[in-house]
């Protein structure tokens, strides 16, 4: 069975690694991005099931969320 895929976006490297380990332990496939820009690129290329993002970081999480909702509208 294909594992569910989660994208974690956070500028804090320790937090990113811990979340990856925790989510993998729970049985998910995890991809990591360190800012909103990288997160957006991975989102486009990997098409994950879920995105978990920090808000306060360079190219903020809010900007990433805006792009995601635009994309969602476009697809509909």
């Amino acid at each position: 069975m294909k594992r569910n895929h989660i994208l974690v976006v956070d500028d804090d490297s320790s937090l990113r690694r811990v979340m990856k380990m925790q989510l993998e332990e729970a049985g998910y496939a995890v991809s990591l991005a360190s800012d909103g820009e990288e997160g957006w690129k991975l989102l486009r290329s990997l098409d994950p099931h879920l995105v978990i993002t920090d808000l306060r970081m360079p190219t903020t999480g809010l900007q990433l969320l805006e792009r995601v909702s635009h994309e969602a509208c476009r697809r509909r």
Binding site: S14, L15, R17, V18, M19, M21, Q22, E25
Partner: protein
Amino acid sequence: MVAVPVSLRSQRAKATSVVLLVFLLAGLTWLTPPRDEVLHNILHHLNILPFMLAGLFFGWRGAARTLLLAALLQTPSIYRHWHVDRLDADDQLVELSIFGAAGIIAGLLADRERMQRLQVEETKAELEHVYTELRQNIEQMKKTERLTAAGQLSASLAHEIRNPLASISGAAGILARGQASAESRGECLEILTKESQRLNNLLTNFLEFARPRLPRPQPTDPADLIYAVAALAQHVASARHVAVRIEADPRAPEMQCDPEQIKQLLLNLLLNAVQATPEHGSVVVRCITLPNAVTIEVLDEGMGVAVQDRERIFEPFFTTKETGTGLGLAIAANIAEQHGGRLQCIEGDGGGAVFRLELPRHTVAMRCRGTGQVLA
């Protein structure tokens, strides 16, 4: 024996000497034969002495009482000169009255002078009281100012503490469950060490920043200083949606200053600028390095500072903010002065305020205001 206060004892001595003088003059006048007119004349003129002394020592009431006593004691002589041995008794009466009146006037003047002295002393005591109270208030307000700054800092601090804490608790959880691979366990231990160290460094820096102390000059990179301050103010700036832009040459040469004090000063300017700037505006921190000086400007997009207030905003307790204590800029200006530099407020191109800090690059000696101490 009852102890008598010195002031009261001297008052008594004065009263005794005046009374004795009156008795002496009355006695001598009685004993001097009427034909010795010259001696009588001298004695009559000497009457002015006790009246004047009583006036000076005890005021107009003292002079009046002395006049009454003298008139009573000299009545026999005057009577004798009038009826028995004819002498100028009316002259004697007139002289007694005039000298008495002079004594009373001197007494009135002395009373007035005494009253004024009393008022001055009362005012002095009152001023001393007000001064003490004012000093206590200043101490209190300084404390409040420190607490306010601490409040803003603790918001940033809380944010800085949460991330490492989340990593630590997450890594500890993975280790506790014991299902992770050897590689992951190693990674968790590394994260635990690294994040604990990060928290420790954060608190050390914070304490060093928050604890007030004398200036300690050391070679400092001005750009590093500005970036560190911007990081501290970032939390407040993001909350207000204000962007902080830094224009500083990272290759700028080092300068001699107390980095913590200059950070405190710049943080103060930066937080003020952020508060003054409307939402979605921006604040610029600009650093210009000259051969012998460093100029750091903080530019905001607020309403600016009125021309008449540009000097006064550096005075203690002058504030244009509703919740301000008016000490922040005074402390900032003091730090600039201690470094041999100065802090000014000038008008910006866009109407906002510009705070310009000028510091010498090589500080020979630092003055510490208040203690008179010179720090090499």
